[in-house]
Symmetry: C2
Subunit: 112 residues, 2 copies
């Protein structure tokens, strides 16, 4: 197990569940309570609470208890680092295909 990048571990793991991805999209529209979310996804309060906890640990959601209601909202993280990781990967891929293209070009010139 590698030690660094723990935040990418937790956020990608958080995104690996379809319920959690949909919770994020729903929270992007409006804040919601645990009850709201549990109702929307036909799940027990306890089950939804766990999902929200995972999103919270990943820094993707913050919550605040007001009276007997726990309100969930997005933040503070915006998936920027995750976006960057994927962009870096894709640019490395492109660079490699470019080198492959060059190689084929050279080969064609060498053996016309």
């Amino acid at each position: 197990m590698v030690q660094f990048s723990r935040s990418l571990d937790t956020s990608f793991a958080a995104l690996a569940d379809p319920t959690r991805r949909d919770v994020l999209l729903r929270l992007a529209r409006r804040d919601a309570s645990i009850s709201d979310l549990a109702g929307a996804f036909e799940m027990t309060l306890t089950g939804m609470k766990k999902h929200v906890r995972v999103l919270e640990d990943a820094g993707l959601v913050t919550t605040e208890k007001v009276g007997r209601v726990r309100w969930c909202r997005l933040g503070p993280r915006r998936l920027d680092r995750e976006n960057e990781w994927i962009a870096k990967y894709q640019s490395m891929l492109e660079a490699r295909y470019d080198r492959l293209g060059e190689f084929l070009e050279r080969t064609r010139e060498d053996h016309p």
Copy 2:
């Protein structure tokens, strides 16, 4: 459990492990055998084989056995759908903050 988007499930889960992310970056530089990868990450062949299998299931890596060596290379998927999901999420966030900005603007106008 939601039923659609199984591919995002498996690819985000594949990205949630730091060893697997590093394997992808390494394969972006050059193809490698299971032994190469196991050696580079100080892991048993069996352990690395499992990681490669996860990446294969997510469509991020393909492998081919040549003689007694199994060669691993990237593809066919490029994380485009994952990139799109994150981009969509971020644009929804931006849209929401824009609406919040508008609201504050209106409020300021109403009560100057």
